[in-house]
Amino acid sequence: MSLWSAVLISSALVYSWKLFGYLVPERFVSNPKIKELAALLTVALLAALVGIQTFVSAEGLSIDARVPAIVAAGILFYLRVPFVVVVVVAAAIAALIRLLA
């Protein structure tokens, strides 16, 4: 299979999940219990991504410049610092630690 076909087939497959969700009848989803499940799923999946993007690298688990950056981000979010500022500071902390290391 060529790389181009792989790009197009995988894009179509990823899109199919997105479209599938819109074909589930609204009646089923408007149940408050289902809304509760949707909120739980969102938090679980995003928290999983935070964990993986903070601790997992190509070599396996690692504690590196990302960890202090995320800890600082948590503190700044707690202090209600605006979203964009926190993200930029997190990047700067990780970049600075790598520069000095």
Binding site: S11, K18, L37, L49, G51, A65
Partner: protein, 225 residues
């Protein structure tokens, strides 16, 4: 525009820009993995789901072939289906608009929309603004990364990987004041991180969906008693 709407717009643009910046990383790594500029752009325009895109080029870069690359991208895309199920009744758009809404249904648009709960109009605004903002910035920065990638050095030198993790943390942060969701978030992060050592990419994140279902069933039982 009310003050609340202004702050929602600021969050949408902030999320769009921060996530978009990470697109530089994707563009650069994609070209390094052996894709050309247009294949890289096709992934950002058509697949448009960061996790799946990074998985695809990551597997291609290892030389494992295209079939495992397709499978990992597909697997990592499942969560967008969950988000779409949630967004469908919230958006309540005409059938013709559903394919467009579907393409914009990603982690960020769903999460900002969730911040608008229980106000329907804010949930919709959050979804559309964030979806469009991420789409625009993600594609612009993918292009930049693919073209100048090797000249700006390694994206991690700029801390872009930490920025992506911080952005996801920011998206769930407002929900973590509920103790149940805080416990779920910590347990999910721990489960996915530890399982990443032994399981292929995509599976650990999906395991946390099972954890969420477990919390949900437990919550319903607790409500009945």
């Amino acid at each position: 525009m009310s003050k609340k709407e202004q702050s929602l717009t600021a969050v949408s643009l902030g999320v769009g820009f921060a996530t978009g910046l990470y697109g530089i990383s994707f563009g650069a790594l994609s070209v390094a993995a052996g894709l050309d500029l247009w294949q890289t752009m096709a992934l950002s325009l058509l697949m448009f789901s960061g996790g799946s895109q990074f998985a695809f080029i990551g597997v291609v870069a290892t030389g494992a072939g295209v079939v495992p690359a397709i499978l990992s991208a597909w697997l990592l895309g499942v969560r967008n289906g969950f988000y779409a199920i949630r967004m469908n009744p919230v958006l309540s758009v005409r059938a013709l608009m559903k394919p467009i809404a579907a393409q914009l249904t990603i982690d960020e648009s769903n999460a900002v929309s969730l911040l608008g709960e229980p106000d329907r109009s804010k949930e919709r605004l959050g979804f559309w603004q964030t979806g469009v903002a991420v789409f625009v910035f993600w594609n612009i920065f993918t292009f930049v990364g693919a073209v100048v990638g090797s000249q700006i050095g390694n994206p991690t030198d700029w801390g872009l990987d930490a920025a992506a993790a911080a952005a996801f943390l920011g998206l769930i942060w407002p929900r973590l004041n509920q103790s149940k969701l805080l416990v779920l978030a910590v347990a999910s992060a721990f489960l996915a991180t530890s399982m990443s050592v032994v399981l292929p990419p995509g599976i650990p994140v999906l395991l946390t969906a099972l954890l969420a279902v477990g919390f949900w069933l437990f919550g319903m039982r607790a409500d009945r008693e």
